[in-house]
Amino acid sequence: MTKKERLIMTIASMILIGTFFFPIWKIDLQAPQYPEGIGLRIWVNKITGASKHDLDNINKLNHYIGMKEIKPESIPELSVMPFIIGFFIVTGLIAAFLKKKPLASGWLALFIITLIYGFYDYYLWGYDYGHNLNPNAPIKIPGMVYQPPLFGSKQLLNMLSVSLPGTGSFLIGVSIMLVLYVLFNNKFKRFQLR
């Protein structure tokens, strides 16, 4: 690694600290009687409402269709994820300190695999909430499931559910781009020289 690459690798690692301060994903629900909006924010370590009482209010609405109450404390991933992010920050910094590109390649591969697994895991939770409904729910519509979209929007009864990456995901994206630059910038340069 050059001096510059080393600096960029350091930034790429440090930038991940930001994921503790911004949500990774956001789900916004739109309905006529919620002109002010109502939604969820998924963080590396918690799930909150878009505003203070939204999570409680969403749980109240969900009980009509028999969806399990969303209780952040019952989702183990939320207590593990901060350590995983911490691991990548530390190992990324080690790679920068040792100036080893192969270490950075390994770091990136592992990070992407982890992200894909995380995304899959998130899908499973969504599937579970959307399909595993209380058979005694007051509102039962045959064939209707309430899995929020992973990405994009979907009409769920009266609610339009819009699911999009949050600022935390953009930070992760920036981190990955920076590491890709560290790994491949001299190849691009050579390509340009030819």
Partner: protein
Amino acid sequence: MKKISLIVSLAALIAISSALYNCAGPGDETGYADAAQKVYVAPGQYDEFYSFMSGGFNGQVSVYGLPSGRMFKSISVFSQNPETGYGYTPETTPMLETSYGMVPWDDAHHPELSQTDGIPDGRWLFINGNNTPRVARIDLRTFETAEILEIPNSAGNHGSPFVTMNTEYVIASTRFSLPIPQRDVAISSYKENFKGTLTFIRADNETGDMEIAFQILVPGFDYDLAHAGKGPSHGWAFFTSYNSEQANTLLEINASRNDKDFVAAVNWKKAEEYLKEGKGKRVKVDYTNNYYDEEEHQAHSEMRNEVTVIYPEDCPGLIYYLPTPKSPHGVDVDPSGEYIVAGGKLATVIPVHSFSKMLTAIENEEFEGDIDGIPILKYESVNAGEVENCGLGPLHTEFDGKGYAYTSAFISSEIVKWKIGTWEVVDRIPTYYSIGHLMIPGGDSKEPWGKYVVALNKITKDRYLPTGPELCQSAQLIDISGDKMKLLLDFPTVGEPHYAQAIPAEILMNNTKRFYELEKNKHPFKTGGEAEARAERTGSEIHIYMTASRTHFKPDNIEGVRVGDKVFFHVTNLEQDWDIPHGFAVKGALTSELLIMPGETKTLVWYPKKEGVFPFYCTDFCSALHQEMQGYIRVSPANSNAAVSYN
């Protein structure tokens, strides 16, 4: 000959009335084509102003939007309201406590917005209770009554409540003079035994908490209305009085003899100096001060036992009488603070006094006598001008901030627009019918928002679809943005609005409270969550700690209650979202229902008198399964041993 002239004048009257009817009456539709656009607020759009209108004999305050005239809310102030439980629940009955006991009604006349630097600031709205003298303070974040203060040594608290420029004081005056202190005397001894009071209430600048700073004991006239000075006249307050004849019977004749009665000009800054010198005397008298603790969701009533009274004869320079024709009603100070306009209801002119002339006259001692040591200034020495041709029965004046004044004339049923300084009438418009007060948003402040004037009429007769003998009262919205006044809209009002106030919507709407934070709820019988829901017996009292949330009560089955018990349903609304109130009603309740806002706790007291099973349910359509939000309470015989149980 007499008969002929009567017939001629009758014919003339009919001709004039029909001409008026034809040019602006209900039959004329073409004249209002563009009026519709000016008052139309499109679906989902907001009104430009909030307007607060007193409810008169309904004892409440109603909130309207202008220019649409749509009513949004009735604020419970001096009267019980079974719709919400106000004045019925143990939490709110203390608000209506007085030195006479719990008085569940009053006659509310004059709303007044708090001011900062002479401009309505949207923090509080004050309003008077006329019958059992009280002043209430409404919190404009919650649109709920926050405090009620009883006014001692007063009867007919009509000239009230009017604020000074920075709400240093809320002023009040007694319409009825009384033996002070109260005692058993012959009514015919009025002249020697009866006195009036002018009351200065201090409102805390941060909290709004009211206390009586001092009262001034004045000669026994009828003190009718008031307004505080502003700008150069800040530090003074002006009170109209009639019945300077001091009649105690058949006032319509006996109190209408004198050509002139008085505007009392009070130098309250001087009063403060005299108080510092110790000129005030502590006088024993009982009165209540009630306030609502928003976090406890509970009102408290405290009895006070004395007030400080100032006697004008001990305090020269405190108060002066300005002779004013004739039996004056309203007294209004123009935005500059220089002119004091009196509505001489039996006068043929509107007298306007000059504050600067008054100061000069005081300095030069241009007095024509005194009453009980209060100097009477010479009319010519204080009068700035008289508005002639002002209509019959002028009552109240408001200002547009552009150099014009607008006076309501009750008998001739019109609003008269005149120019300050030249005293010329420049325009007039009929009102339907018999206008009392009129109101321009901020029209009694330093900087009026002079776009509309609202006429508050006493009689509607044929203006609306008839509803039997009792008809609605009515307001009329008039455009005053141009040279000529233009009638835009009639709208019916509830109760009988006397005065009103209005303020631009943006000053209030962003401060509105959406719900009460459950975590801040300090009600002693709060139920913080469903896990805490329960029922407990203490002797013959059953306390049910109940929660309401979409869409169930918890507990919703209660057993082990006996005939003769006293049952308290303490219902906490667990919702934390805007506009999700729950209601609570139980069969056979002798009081009211409850309407519980999110995060709030309210209590319904219920006396089981018969054995059986009795239902309760939610009365506010809260959600899709509102109709399922119900439960039962079982009542066993008085000698039953069943323990309290619930689920």
